[in-house]
Symmetry: C2
Subunit: 133 residues, 2 copies
DNA sequence: GGCTTAAAAGAAAATTATTTTCTTTTAAAA
DNA sequence: TTTTAAAAGAAAATAATTTTCTTTTAAGCC
């Protein structure tokens, strides 16, 4: 039983070959767009439908297996839900990296200032990566 | 000379009635979607085209007058660019608030960890507002 | 205040993104 | 194996955004 299959079972989703492939592509890339998922999927499943990608991505997001990350001035990417982290995007080459920065302080501060009960935080930074300078 | 007109001049954009209206709507609402901009614009300019909204929003974003804020699981909103702040969205009623929280620490930390030179940060929190509890 | 003109508005069509519907196929449970 | 609810795929529908083209207009100049 593959890793992806296991994840699907845990989330009570049927382990179809297409879904297994989607999950392993997300795992492999870390972050990936719908477009790239589709392109890469076509290599292995030449008759896959884009609707299959969308339907599965939506279900997986719904069931808490993956999450959409909206990127400023770029297409959304999808990632497996793991430990909290923030994202940093290179303006020049588009690369997206995970950074394990602690955001608890900001969240506590924001809760105090706003009176909200905060459930999730999305932090995305944009700048220039070391390779692009 | 109205406030909106002045902003447009400063950014070297022709001060058309449609643009003045767009800016004052953004100012008035704080954050507003394309859809709501269009609906409200129609009241005053019954023949306005959605393309006019898009073209202007894109130009204004390009010239640094406004900014798009991508919201998790919801439509993007647009805001005037002012002092840095973060956003907090209520899961229940959809309300979006600005919070003047200091993010310098996180940014410095992320720069150190990643080696990136960071130019801008987007922080969006989701949770439940005081009124929805 | 009347010209001039580049830029903007508006209308329509085109493109791109996403969802829905419907029929066929299949994973998983019995 | 057989059964069946769920998923895949194909096609069409809908939604979001951009482009093209013609008409109108803001702003600079006399
Ligand atoms: Mn990530
Ligand atoms: Mn804001
Ligand atoms: Zn780079
Ligand atoms: Zn609320």
């Amino acid at each position: 039983m593959t890793e992806s299959t296991l994840l699907l079972k845990e989330h009570h989703l049927k382990a179809t070959p297409q879904r297994i492939k989607i999950i392993s592509m997300i795992e492999e890339h870390g972050h990936i767009t719908i477009e790239d998922l589709y392109k890469e999927m076509l290599e292995q499943f030449p008759s896959v439908s884009l609707a299959t990608i969308y339907k599965n991505i939506n279900q997986m997001a719904q069931s808490g297996l993956i999450r959409e990350i909206k990127i400023p001035k770029a297409k959304s990417v999808f990632e497996l839900i793991k430990e909290p982290h923030l994202h940093i995007v290179c303006d020049s080459c588009g690369k997206i990296e995970d950074i394990p920065v602690e955001t608890e302080n900001i969240i506590k501060e924001a809760e105090k200032l706003s009176g909200y009960k905060i459930n999730e935080s999305f932090v995305t930074l944009r700048g220039t990566c070391p390779e692009c300078r």
